[in-house]
């Protein structure tokens, strides 16, 4: 089986910025944390985003759901930044710096 169809573990950091709503974003952060909890992926909130790790496709699907949920809550426009790290030389995790 080609690696192109295998799972790809990643450690990511992302930040979802709702645009076109008020400047207080805490209620949206609460919603995205709920979705991450449901996704069952290891994640950890910090001052400017959320660290998350797991299979690439599952991580991106969880962040997609965060976007969809905020649109459902009435956010007309969202800008999401994602940093993703993958490596083949050793195991990587949120805990490993």
């Amino acid at each position: 089986m080609s690696r192109l169809t295998k799972k790809l573990h990643c450690v990511a950091d992302f930040c979802v910025i709702p645009i076109g709503v008020g400047p207080s974003l805490s209620k949206y952060i609460v919603e995205t944390q709920k979705i991450l909890n449901e996704a069952g992926l290891t994640h950890k909130l910090h001052a400017k985003g959320t660290n998350i790790e797991g299979d690439w496709s599952e991580v991106m699907e969880a962040i997609r759901k965060c976007n969809v949920r905020l649109h459902e809550l009435g956010v007309p426009r969202i800008n999401t930044t994602i940093h993703v790290g993958t490596r083949t030389d050793k195991e990587d995790s949120i805990e490993a710096m």
Copy 2:
């Protein structure tokens, strides 16, 4: 059908940074452009990354394949940055600023 399972159009910008190889990255850029061409998604290279648009899941899958391909070429570690915009108030595309 819930929106959580529907397609989510996005306009994204991403940059794949190979780590642990030499400072010349052009051959890797060529490889990622091939994968984007195969994916059939509208995309456009600029000085610091690539604009791309399409369904969220297809865009993230194309970027995942870029990562897998570079690992196959011997890159031990990759850092990818992705900016993704989604909006429900109007159509969005690479051409619309």
Copy 3:
């Protein structure tokens, strides 16, 4: 003289996201382009941001002024993403991929 006080050339890409205002951001983009023109730095708008190059401190000062200007226009909160590339092995510019 230590390199710590010398000029550091960089090629950057940045995106200024106004938060707490409406979803239409084009008038803010126009303002930031004016500031970049006044700064006299080479820059080029693309679908998800602006490429800019020059001395690190001048580039960051120009982006700072963009933030200050948007706050003056009533934007209560701003999220700015900046990707900066520096290199010592060869000349770098927006034109060099």
Copy 4:
């Protein structure tokens, strides 16, 4: 005095990626943490970067020094990502989410 010359407080997150060296980056992270300590700015390391806060120009100068230091250590190429938040509606800090 115009706001354009006043201090602008920001809460930022940044990640410095050395290119063209080996995949182990921990020694470079140690160096950047030293520079941040010397800069006297509040900062906090997480799995995918460093949170930092202070006056915009001082924050960007500290990150510039990180880049210069890594080049001095022989890194030929660096890619730095910076997310910066500024706001005028309330005080912001690394501790305030």
